[in-house]
């Protein structure tokens, strides 16, 4: 069958117009979704901030009681009030995680780079986690790194990443297990630093390698899950590593522990 050129071009125009309309529709949908996402981010930010204030007041009142400033407490009373302080502090930490995520998601994060020793930061994070790891009789070792050159990066943000990875390792490793931190140089001129945080914990199935870095995702999201949290820790870690032009990933086997890796350029461009 042969159609005349006129008909052909009319059909073509019609098809083109339909496609354009579809494109326009898709653009509108994307804009709508973007603005809803921005609204959600703003809501998260506001609610987190508003939750923080009364919580701070509760913690201060409980601390005043715990310190015996309003009269001395017996050991059981002190234990109970300490529970209020600790529970409140845990809530504050979760709210802060949400706020950090909101800021990194809305590109409000700027890197403040200085030159510093990353092994020193690792040792600091280790120290901060000492009481937690002692409770589970875990050993945390930095296996090497004394010869790692100083990095030019955002110290607070890398400390956050290391704190998250080491904190997770502690959380998901059985009593008496082992956690290690290891450094290696990579790249053509060894201009990339590879940091490994490994553990002998419960491990992650291959299907979940990507999921764990996704926001609000938890491998076990049931209400009865043994480990609670915001599900934002690794999503934040990924954002912060990527802000440094690095990469983050996991290699793991269920029941045999996990090894989290991230890279960091050693000679980033300087302003």
């Amino acid at each position: 069958m042969k159609m005349s050129d006129g008909l052909d071009s009319a059909a073509l125009h019609k098809r083109l117009a339909a496609l354009e309309a579809q494109g326009e529709e898709a653009r509108r949908t994307i804009d709508e979704l973007k603005s809803r996402d921005a609204l959600k981010t703003q809501f998260l930010s506001n609610i987190s901030h508003d939750l923080r204030t009364p919580l701070a007041a509760i913690i201060t009142h409980a601390e005043i009681l715990r310190e015996g400033m309003l009269g001395s407490l017996n050991p059981r009373q002190r234990e109970s009030v300490s529970g209020i302080v600790n529970g409140g502090q845990q809530l504050i930490d979760m709210i802060d995680e949400i706020l950090t995520y909101v800021r990194s998601a809305s590109d409000q994060v700027a890197l403040i780079r200085t030159e510093f020793s990353i092994t020193e930061v690792v040792d600091q994070v280790k120290l901060l986690n000492e009481s937690l790891s002692a409770k589970k009789r875990l050993t945390i070792e930095r296996l090497n790194g004394d010869d790692v050159p100083p990095v030019y990066a955002d110290r607070d943000k890398l400390k956050h990443v290391l704190g998250n990875l080491i904190g997770n390792a502690i959380k998901f490793t059985h009593d008496g297990g082992r956690i290690w931190i290891k450094f290696a140089r990579r790249g053509r001129d060894g201009d990339e630093l590879l940091v490994e945080i490994g553990d002998t914990g419960r491990g992650i199935a291959r299907d979940h390698y990507d999921l764990v870095f996704r926001e609000f995702a938890q491998v076990d999201s049931s209400p009865s899950r043994p480990h609670h949290g915001t599900g934002l820790g690794l999503a934040i870690a990924r954002k912060l590593v990527e802000l440094h032009s690095g990469r983050i990933w996991v290699e793991s086997e269920l029941g045999k522990g996990s090894r989290f890796f991230f890279t960091l350029p050693l000679n980033p461009p300087r302003d």
Binding site: A57, I64, L99
Partner: protein
């Protein structure tokens, strides 16, 4: 003087500093804080950065202009990072504390600054 817009927080601090033997005044806005700072001899300001009518640091610049700066100012913020600390130190704060400030640390800092 405590400058903070939440009465929940100022009430908690009022109990704390009252017990620790300090005389406490509180203000909930930049305007109130400036007015109170000009009217009263203040030794130390505990300054929240986010206030309904502006930044807590505006209080400092106004009191500096009128020559009525306190002996020391401690800034308090919900969330550090993003250069907040540097800005506050440059504005004349002695230290920047993250809320909720552990009370032992807070009392220690205040004793150090006023001692």
């Amino acid at each position: 003087m405590i400058v903070e817009d939440s009465s929940l927080v100022t009430d908690a601090f009022a109990v704390l500093f009252g017990e620790a033997g300090y005389e406490v005044h509180s203000a909930r806005t930049v305007a109130d804080a400036i007015e109170l700072g000009k009217r009263t001899q203040i030794d130390l300001i505990l300054l929240d950065l986010t206030l309904p009518d502006g930044s807590g640091l505006d209080v400092l610049s106004a009191l500096r202009q009128s020559g009525q700066l306190p002996r020391a100012t401690l800034a308090m913020t919900g969330h550090t990072g993003g250069g907040v600390r540097e800005t506050c130190l440059a504005a004349g704060c002695a230290e920047v504390l993250t809320k909720p400030v552990p009370i032992r640390e807070l009392l220690r800092q205040i004793e150090r600054l006023l001692g």
